[in-house]
Symmetry: D2
Subunit: 309 residues, 4 copies
Amino acid sequence: MTQFSLHGIVPPVVTPLTTDMEVDAPSLRRVVRHLIDGGVHGLFILGSSSEVVFLDAQRRAEVIRIVMEEAGGRVPVIAGVIDIATDRCIQHAREARALGVDALVLTAPFYTRTSQAEIVDHFCYVRDAVDLPLIAYDIPVCVNIKLERETLHKLYARKAIVGLKDSSGDDGNMRMVMRDFAAHPDFAVLTGSEITVDYALLGGGHGAVPGLANVDPAGYVRLYDAARKGDWVAARAEQQRLIELFEIVFQGYPDTSRNASGVGGFKTAMQMMGLITHRHMSRPNAVLSDAHAAKVRAIVEKSGLLRAG
Amino acid sequence: MTQFSLHGIVPPVVTPLTTDMEVDAPSLRRVVRHLIDGGVHGLFILGSSSEVVFLDAQRRAEVIRIVMEEAGGRVPVIAGVIDIATDRCIQHAREARALGVDALVLTAPFYTRTSQAEIVDHFCYVRDAVDLPLIAYDIPVCVNIKLERETLHKLYARKAIVGLKDSSGDDGNMRMVMRDFAAHPDFAVLTGSEITVDYALLGGGHGAVPGLANVDPAGYVRLYDAARKGDWVAARAEQQRLIELFEIVFQGYPDTSRNASGVGGFKTAMQMMGLITHRHMSRPNAVLSDAHAAKVRAIVEKSGLLRAG
Amino acid sequence: MTQFSLHGIVPPVVTPLTTDMEVDAPSLRRVVRHLIDGGVHGLFILGSSSEVVFLDAQRRAEVIRIVMEEAGGRVPVIAGVIDIATDRCIQHAREARALGVDALVLTAPFYTRTSQAEIVDHFCYVRDAVDLPLIAYDIPVCVNIKLERETLHKLYARKAIVGLKDSSGDDGNMRMVMRDFAAHPDFAVLTGSEITVDYALLGGGHGAVPGLANVDPAGYVRLYDAARKGDWVAARAEQQRLIELFEIVFQGYPDTSRNASGVGGFKTAMQMMGLITHRHMSRPNAVLSDAHAAKVRAIVEKSGLLRAG
Amino acid sequence: MTQFSLHGIVPPVVTPLTTDMEVDAPSLRRVVRHLIDGGVHGLFILGSSSEVVFLDAQRRAEVIRIVMEEAGGRVPVIAGVIDIATDRCIQHAREARALGVDALVLTAPFYTRTSQAEIVDHFCYVRDAVDLPLIAYDIPVCVNIKLERETLHKLYARKAIVGLKDSSGDDGNMRMVMRDFAAHPDFAVLTGSEITVDYALLGGGHGAVPGLANVDPAGYVRLYDAARKGDWVAARAEQQRLIELFEIVFQGYPDTSRNASGVGGFKTAMQMMGLITHRHMSRPNAVLSDAHAAKVRAIVEKSGLLRAG
């Protein structure tokens, strides 16, 4: 096992695209610098907000290479190896390992419905195939099944996972999981929420993986630092500010899907901030219209991240 | 509008039953004294944990009468008027008002699927029929529809509701709602959770309606008081302790339904503590077996609420 | 056990309402005559399409009395005793029995989630309380739980039910159930669908409970008669015609809820045909606008049930 | 557009695997011969029952090559190009086209939630990329979204699809779709059900894609032929027999997932019939135990497809 420590603000790095749907390397490098300058504690690449499932093996590798190089060892880089089934995940895991990432993130299989027992096997197969720390990713809205508490216990007992990224939206269950693992400091729980990060930290969570940190990494780092110091009033104030900014994810819906509105909202703000060149997403996600973008701009300006035009 | 202030720990009072399924008045009186002695800020009778939907009009009235009399004005009493459709709710509302309760709690209609617009009408019809403060109760797991943020805004704008009891389990959305109403101190948000009460208070919530407060009201009051003082470490410690105690709700499942395991777990603990005579619930809920009860006892003993047998 | 035979077209009789939300007796009598003149084999009153859950005990009794009297023994009358929980259902069952109905229809409990074992108990409690044939009503979209095949087997083994009204929309599972009970002619399976009645009869079903039969009972009777004779081409042709007519249920949505659009569509057509005086439904269901009604009219005219205005 | 005619029994061909998880070519060839000897009208390879989502590009290509060669033009071969998102589907589509398949089958994107409008775009992007007939595959249980009627209309209007494989289990909605397209003989509707094939054909469907036809192709062909002749009694009798055989899919559950029990049940029967060498599925699907297999054997023997051991 490596010395990798999973904690703090670990943004799921968006994947900027060129107009011919290739990885936009200069934009991606700018994003990485923006995040590290903001003080984040790690980078989670190839997650849901990174449009991972839209990327083929070659583009996934390209993202890893660019981010690893730009990060230059300043922060750990963890990579999603998210795919439909075990052997495809193992293939991604081997490629990610060869490129030097610090840890891997894995969901339950999807499309085909599996049992909790089969999910345990799935994680163990991947863990056995690559000697890297594995983080369980609970995201029922995407994979249509919950990683149950008992499943997490079994995976930990079998030394298959070192942590949980919880994007289930079920803060109560996550609280129970944090309680279950409170005596096991080698197991980390990070929330995937943008808007209840202070909650998760109060409840004993080790950090957060908020998509919105692509836009405002320094804000989330301030939130985290305040929480570490036990200054919950300051943590909450920062969280409240970020909740206002989070409204950017709702501006496209229902003209677009929620996903195109959400990740598209991040990309639109980042385009306005000069971080990325284009705001479109992978096909078939619709792109936010100029009218949507104007609404996003108003929210970002109000937050002070962007000077009013 | 009355002077009624909605805040603090407002337990959903369980309804003790005799062996012939009547309201067990002496037990109910003991429960009320136990709660008020524990320092609670109000009593929510005829909610889900009170088995309200199993009770006919006569038994509902009996519960109100007993609790009003025993409370004797020391704390406000709010009553659920939960039923399938508008006119049945209005009937309950009129009876509850005649018996002098301070406010009413109402869910969306159920069985028949309604639209959000029809839900707005539903609340307005009930509000127009009785001149009492109305609290919206969001509990999708029971009524199979969410009270959307926009619906709450419309209801508030039409002066139909003075608050929200959120039992949706979606702490993120509740956080957004608290943000929306932060500038409106005449609108209160209470969580229905047992295990994220410190979260809700940190996020700006006004209180909680935890079923587990039937067992340990003083614990929740300590949690609330710590939060009011801004002592989040103490609030969290109390919450962690209550999370341990909350395990009593899982001991019957899957031998019984989750509901029979949950409310049955409360009743079993309360029986052991000498508060109520019987632990069975309304039909068709299964009763916890002696083996289940032994597991509940072990948890309650460990919490210190009960001397080890 | 009575001589009651459950088969054929058994429409769920809509409940016409006066403007002050009372049962519109003259309209209801016209509907009953319309249905019996159309050749139906039974009447199912107080079902979902009858807005049963909106009606209090007094109005439920009134519906039973009016329909029993108007039917005059020409066809059996079966009554829904649909309510949230066991004891409320038993109360309805006793009243329906006292008024002389031939059989009762019961769903799983709702609001509170129950287990399949508790559902078995629920039906047995009701069956034990009244000496009348009981029909299980599978309608997960309303009660949020499925009556599983094994549950039906247990209920039949305990002589608690004599049949199934399947409104689940899961024609595959219903087919399996029909297979399971094929050797038990004392158990009847009726579909609640309007648009796959020929399927259900081909698969061994005993009949149908289509809400649309309120509008065109004779059409469904022709479908049933053709199927009985083994003339599946004629049965299908009639079904295809009724599918065209079924479009009336979609004209209000999404301006209204699906329920207000569906039952409201039936009522609107029946109003145009002179059967009922008003088309509104119980609160909080929205009423179809004149524009919606015009679309309903066009469909009914095209079907030949109404002369073009 | 090719001369390809989509109709009849088109089994989703299972993918036999070797112990090192490669495509078992000799077994696959035997399966193809078994199916064509059974009289099927086409072969659907790389569908859900083929474990398509578990196979990488190389193995997908291998399946296509083997089946194309073994079929030798005797029946059309249609291939699933099922993957998470548009560009990955296009890649599969190009490879399948290069290998000479007659048509392609495509689902909605999954993992990331899309809107119906984005689904329309998804299909159009794939259709534009390859000049082959495209069949829409509605399987909400896997992709977590429904292909709505209106979406199908739009896709047909844009000449993006030539048919529908409906595995939604919603026979009512499929009936409406068949009605919608009744006047368009260039659009075919096939059911994915094993147990309501007679229904679908009675309702105007053009054929079926039943996984169970891997085990008993001749039975489904007899069913189809009877239906074509209008002999619905014979069609139903064959369907009833196949429903008995269908019980093989339930023997592993809940020890395994439903999928491992279902496709595993097919493979187990096929192994016993000497068609394939191994019955295991792709990881992480559990393999049916010997005890499960014995139950499968008893069902297959009873059906007459296998001599009692």
